[in-house]
Symmetry: none
Subunit: 151 residues, 2 copies
DNA sequence: TTGACTTTGACTTTAACTGACTTTAGCCTT
DNA sequence: AAGGCTAAAGTCAGTTAAAGTCAAAGTCAA
């Protein structure tokens, strides 16, 4: 198993056990999980981004910390979707799309069925025929249009 | 016996033994079966396609993998969809897509929500960025892949 | 002998991981 | 206060470990 997944798992558990907020000390955690400190930054920047529904704050120096908070989507589904649609630009890569969809799904905004459907519709596999330079743009268009049918 | 068949056989056995899902490491498998890594891609793309009822996911980079899942048709609806998927060729125009979808919808095979979603995903409007000559092909691919998630 | 299917390997892309170096905050000493 | 020491966290570019792509060459049956 990848170290990144171990770290991510550890943080997720902390989030679950406390009320959606985890405060860690970078060096200490790195040490206890047997990785290099910057690995923690890597994990956070690849798996706990704002797009994925987390807020990260931190402080350097003596007594420093990293605090990760999971944002609960409380707003109504329609406006959540509108918000996503507006925040997606003219271009969207596959990984980002998947992350957004997983998030919407785990927050109950869209069903598993819909998640799978849209995931399939914007997957790289499906777009191999379109010229590479256009793929992310086409993906963004498809993605937004499909989401919009749900509002 | 061809190497491709050995590889395909190996993967099929994995699928049978586990619960219809096989996760492999490309290089490792290639090595243990005595072929070149890209052979695995060839086998997958020629024998484990969507039309043949498989879903393939993968991840690159350290700790990467290829996961192949066999879709099993449990429901009657599943086989209707499978039939449609197989009857759609490499190319599909918007009108035909819409007709098929409306049919599936009015026969209760797919919901209105799903109908709207797929319709949006294969609409001409969404594909304006892709070169005209490719549009119907891309549409067919998207269409089939989306439908397959419903089986 | 031709055309579809297979095999191969060189090259590309992506994700994970690492460590040297930088920046920041608190504390202590004067 | 000011300056320096120390204990954090941040950055970034470079390395490694995968999987993906593609076109050229090989095989084989009709």
């Amino acid at each position: 198993m990848r170290i990144s997944d171990v770290v991510a798992e550890y943080i997720r558990r902390m989030l679950d056990e406390s009320d959606g907020t985890a405060e860690i000390q970078r060096n200490e955690l790195a040490n206890s999980l047997g990785c290099v400190p910057s690995q923690i930054n890597y994990v956070i920047s690849s798996r706990f981004t704002q797009e994925q529904g987390y807020v990260v704050e931190s402080r350097r120096g003596g007594g420093g910390y990293i605090r990760i908070t999971r944002i609960r989507l409380t707003t109504d589904k329609g406006s959540v979707i509108m918000h996503i649609v507006n925040s997606v630009g003219e271009s969207l890569d596959e990984l980002s799309a998947n992350i957004i969809l997983e998030n919407l799904c785990s927050n109950g905004v869209i069903s598993q069925e819909v998640t799978k459907l849209i995931t399939a519709g914007v997957s790289e596999r499906v777009l191999t025929q379109v010229p590479k330079v256009l793929r992310n743009e086409v993906r963004a268009t498809i993605f937004k249009n499909m989401l919009l049918t749900l509002t």
